[in-house]
Point group: C2
């Protein structure tokens, strides 16, 4: 079960500009997770302007949309942004919350006993409303961002207390803990609830922490990053999709899930929007996982 936005995006990067395209964190999470054998429902909201071709696309990936509410007379959430030359910084050009202001998340009856709950990057109060509807999930994964850290701190803290895995980027981890060292930041984040912390470092990869181990996933060095939109969502979608297929939740499985997530993110940034994820085949995914393995494998005789 994945909570998140389904949106229209309009994106500018140094490499070009899109019209109105499919976006939203639930979209990226769902498309990435659906690469794996998993039954996944999206919990989200759309307006009556949401095109059938996009619902069809998501359903063709076996994503259950019965938890996606359509509000008549309202428009789908819209976000427009422009990435700067280094692609690490962006300016929001326009945000139209539209249906999001009326969003009352409803988990479909048949998913209330889901074993994995993915709380996509959204208002922590809404994340909590979803969590309250779940019976007893084995794993709750939460993504968040600076906006919620700044302005919804109390609600964020409440959700974090119920979460097993927190996914957050490096700057946000530092901001939330007022700590420069990521090792210390992860420790402080764990004290807030989650047993596992994933710190995303963009082009520098990602770190996975539990109470005593650290795993370091590289990012694939790419000649060109085309559009970073959805990278973090694809990452965590691949992460939960893989764990769901495996059915086992250990640090060892999470290490591999972190690599899967990194591979998903590496595809996403190579084209605008969801284009890469839409055309992704399981063969190309396997090749890329192999590339990730080659990237860090080395031999040494420790005599």
């Amino acid at each position: 079960m994945a909570l998140g936005t389904i949106a229209y995006d309009a994106i500018e990067s140094p490499f070009g500009k899109t019209g109105r395209i499919l976006g939203g964190c639930a979209t990226y999470i769902g498309l990435a997770a659906s690469q794996f054998k998993t039954k996944c429902a999206l919990v989200s909201v759309i307006g009556d302007d949401f095109e059938k071709k996009y619902s069809d696309l998501l359903q063709s990936r076996n994503l259950d949309l019965s938890g996606v509410e359509k509000i008549e007379g309202e428009k789908t959430f819209f976000w427009s942004g422009k990435y700067h030359n280094d692609l690490n910084t962006r300016t929001t050009l326009d945000t139209q919350l539209n249906v999001l202001t009326k969003f009352k998340p409803r988990v479909p009856e048949s998913y209330k006993d889901a074993s994995i709950v993915m709380l996509g990057n959204l208002d922590p109060n809404i994340q909590m409303e979803v969590l309250d509807q779940m019976q007893s999930p084995k794993l709750v994964v939460m993504d968040t961002m600076n906006f919620w850290i700044d302005s919804y701190r109390e609600a964020l803290n409440s959700v974090m207390a119920h979460v097993n895995v927190l996914s957050i980027n490096d700057e946000e981890a530092r901001q939330l803990t007022k700590t420069h060292s990521l090792v210390e930041a992860a420790q402080k984040l764990r004290e807030m609830g989650p047993q596992y912390i994933i710190i995303k470092k963009g082009e520098h990869g990602a770190l996975l922490f539990n109470h005593k181990k650290i795993f370091c996933a590289p990012a694939l060095p790419l000649e060109e990053v085309f559009d970073p939109t959805g990278a973090g969502d694809s990452f965590i979608g691949g992460f939960v999709g893989y764990l769901s297929q495996r059915g086992s939740i250990t640090f060892e499985e999470m290490k591999t899930a972190t690599i899967i997530g990194s591979a998903m993110a590496s595809f996403t940034v190579q084209e605008f929007g969801t284009a890469s994820l839409e055309s992704l085949t399981s063969d190309r995914l396997k090749q890329r996982i192999q590339a990730f393995k080659s990237l860090t494998e080395f031999e040494i005789e420790l005599t």
Copy 2:
């Protein structure tokens, strides 16, 4: 054979402040390289104020100092700097070139046929003078920094044309090639001469490139970085020391050498100056290499 500075440093970091301590890139390179079975001479210059205890230290590590010129009536090169809170930026408080202004590097006769030449971070004109004295080294490794890129570009280009491995940090690679993508930057750097490029990314590890492969070495996530001085020099010292002991120069060996270098850097930053390298034992080095291996190893069944 390693060219570089032997210096006095005075360092301030958020964790404290040193008096006048041993520094200089040749010092770090030598101390790191001497962890391996290799015959190494330092080519450098010191003043008559250079303390015997430091010469003794270097010699006790089997570093040959016959190529270190002592200039009477002159003082040893002195550098003083202050690291800011994030430890990624520093301000130079004082630079006294002293003996460096009169430095005429002389490679000892018995080292002119050395198979590995390490050109530490120094004026590229001096790097070239050393290279001119060598017979036919199998591997020339060069380190450089922004100061030489800004002001000694022509000399730098000349040296680079004769170098096999260039070690440079990410910002400098971007500056030198006017390219944001590190993959493209490495390609452009290779076109300037070196077949292998190492791009150091500080807390984010290092990348090793040849004409078609990339290796990604993580940095050890540390709770505290105490003093970054000498990290890059220790890195490259470990790199050449390991290759020298192995006697074989392939991309596979260089991958391991890059991990060795990363391990050396991880020790160096944990204490002020050379303290960590001085007390480093081969057992602790092995343990840390194992930690590096654990950091990135993962299992996946690609069915």
